[in-house]
Symmetry: C2
Subunit: 391 residues, 2 copies
């Protein structure tokens, strides 16, 4: 039975010193330390089950999100899990409509990332109490339109056909160098394989159109994050110019809420929609975006990588495939083979495909030892690094 | 001479227990404690001049903004003020493009409010070193297009003609009650005086159109914040429906950056633009919005009230009048007679008009005694209140 009073909420600042190896850097994020604000919920049930929730961050600023989680804690503590999930819409609204806290959002920035971490923990706890992986909990919900129940095997077989045939190149820093590298890659992979480009918000609107027109000869499937994630009409202008050249616009990893996604869809501003499991307000808000994308017939290709993003988002794409879109056409999900060893239920990839997770929960739980070592600034890893830097 | 190395940055969490008196509450913000993250900058010049910067908050969450200010501090400390203002664009970009911190924004939410507080302090310090009120510093800048230099007196005379002839009513909670109250107020003020309505984001898009169509008979000049501040296309739909009924859309106090304002203007989504001196990235970003508004011929009517918003924004509207719009048509600036006693250079209102401030700086400095008493949670005011609440 689902239930139990939430009697404990703790939050940790966990950072992995990835900037030392230059992992995951791009034109705008040059020295990321992949990090997470990591929330742990406990109940008074005595079944030993805890809920774990993360939101992904890049190092500095994680302490700001931790602070925001603590500011939200009073909305969660002493609530019964049964009441939360019984009126999840009401609970979601309570968190995002706090009459004082909403001023520092609303529904954006640090406080929304904190909301995601807290709600991710609630979903993990709920799925664990139900004894199901999160994707199965979602698929079994009656209110979700079940298009058809495709066997899990089909997921893998479809993706297997592709194998690793998709490549992404970062662009936007230097046009001549981009031309050189894109030509090299296209020559290497041949004309049939899929090439994607990612500008990480480097351009303004006319610049994006001009630059990509010059890269069109290399037949990219999409240009990702061509400009400010807030510029819906800018994305629409870029789409209008590039779609005739065969290039779609992909964006979403820094879109801060469903209202922005709604407008991107309304304005025909994107051809590929990239949800982020930790920036939107958890499963709740991601579901609303999946349903909107279905309505507009736009494929969802989630952002992943980071810390735990692959672990979380696999539940959402499996749900999307089984219960919403029922299609793999033009759909893919990022994968980076990095930092999975810190998770208790890491993703399993076989033949270039995510395998549906079978453990109960949202795959959000990290290994205790990893958390201890990487806590900032007191974990062993950071104590040593900071001492070496003379801090 | 302008200059000096920034050798100190401190930030305070200052809260006024305004919720006790029910001041400033609305449909979405029911119990605000008007508060500020208050930044103090010191240089090594030895002239005794400090820069003071605030951002406005509503109580809970101020500690999150304080935390974000501390996360930004390393971009400011040890910099020379001359170098900062010599390449202010570069400095602004440095703050908003921090490769790790921008993930928790970018340019929105807690980290952007913190940016505003820090930059407000920089502008205050600069204006003080120049010995000018901020509006005069701006007016004297050569890069600003000077339309004409209207004598200050004209500002006051123009506004005096109006006196207090403008009234605003909060709507959105109950339609029948709104009709009753709007009828009462319109009957009271007569057909000539200006009535404005404010929904504080309560509605979705069709609801806003339907509700306001039913309040149109009371001839409101505008409906303020009819829906989510992120919904640019929604505001455009509402504008399109209401402008033929003689009702304009006003919004902006929760628009989080210039990119959103750009789109609101492009989409014809508002007829009155309400900047906020503490939500946007200080004077820098507000200037870009004032110039865009001029280009689209949309009047700027700033949001004020709160803590210190009137003190700050008066500089911006005076600059707008003298150097950008050169017009008072359809322009007004909110005023609430509240909490000014805590400021060292409070606004002066005569005959329903803001008087141009004459003291050097951005009017951001609070009285030391007020700050001490209202610091959260250790100031006397809060120690007593929290003890009374048994915390």
């Amino acid at each position: 039975m689902v239930g139990g009073r939430i009697c404990g909420l703790s939050v940790r600042d966990v950072r992995f010193p990835t900037s030392l190896g230059g992992h995951g850097s791009d034109a705008m994020h040059t020295d990321p330390d992949y990090s997470a604000a990591y929330v742990i919920l406990e109940t008074d049930v005595g079944d030993g089950l805890k809920g774990y929730g993360i939101t992904f961050t890049l190092g500095r600023g994680t302490e700001v999100v931790v602070c925001a989680v603590n500011a939200l804690a009073h909305h969660v503590l002493s609530k019964d899990l049964r009441d939360i999930v019984g009126d999840f819409r009401g609970f979601y609204r309570q968190l995002t409509s706090d009459g004082q806290l909403r001023w520092i959002g609303p529904e954006k920035g640090a406080v929304h990332l904190a909301t995601a971490a807290v709600l991710n923990a609630v979903w993990d706890l709920w799925a664990k109490q139900e004894g199901k992986p999160l994707w199965k909990l979602l698929v079994d919900m009656k209110y979700c339109r079940k298009v058809k129940l495709v066997k899990k095997k089909e997921l893998c077989t479809e993706a297997l056909k592709d194998g690793w045939t998709r490549f992404k190149v970062k662009v936007g820093a230097d046009l001549q160098d981009d031309i050189r590298r894109c030509r090299l890659i296209r020559d290497m992979i041949g004309p049939e394989k899929i090439l994607m480009m990612d500008a990480n918000q480097r351009w303004d609107v006319p610049e994006a159109v001009e630059w990509m027109s010059k890269l069109a000869e290399f037949k990219p499937l999409w240009i990702e994050e061509p400009t400010s994630p807030d510029d819906i009409l800018g994305h629409a202008t870029i789409s209008k110019a590039l779609v005739p050249l065969g290039i779609g616009v992909a964006t979403g990893e820094q879109c801060h809420n469903r209202v922005i996604f709604k407008q991107l869809l309304q304005a025909k501003a994107l051809q590929f929609l990239q949800i982020d499991s930790c920036r939107l307000g958890s499963v709740n808000e991601n579901l609303s975006v999946l349903l909107m994308a279905k309505k507009f017939e736009i494929p969802v290709c989630p952002h992943a990588g980071g810390v735990g993003l692959c672990e979380l988002v696999q539940h959402l794409i499996i749900f999307d495939f089984i219960s919403v879109s029922a299609s793999l056409k033009n759909r893919m999900c990022e994968y980076v083979d990095h930092l999975h060893e810190h998770f208790r239920y890491p993703v399993i990839i076989k033949k270039a495909s995510y395998m549906p997770p079978k453990d109960a929960g949202y795959s959000t739980e990290m290994k205790t030892d990893s958390v201890q070592k990487h806590q900032y600034p007191d974990g062993d890893v950071w104590k040593k690094l900071l001492a070496a830097q003379g801090n």
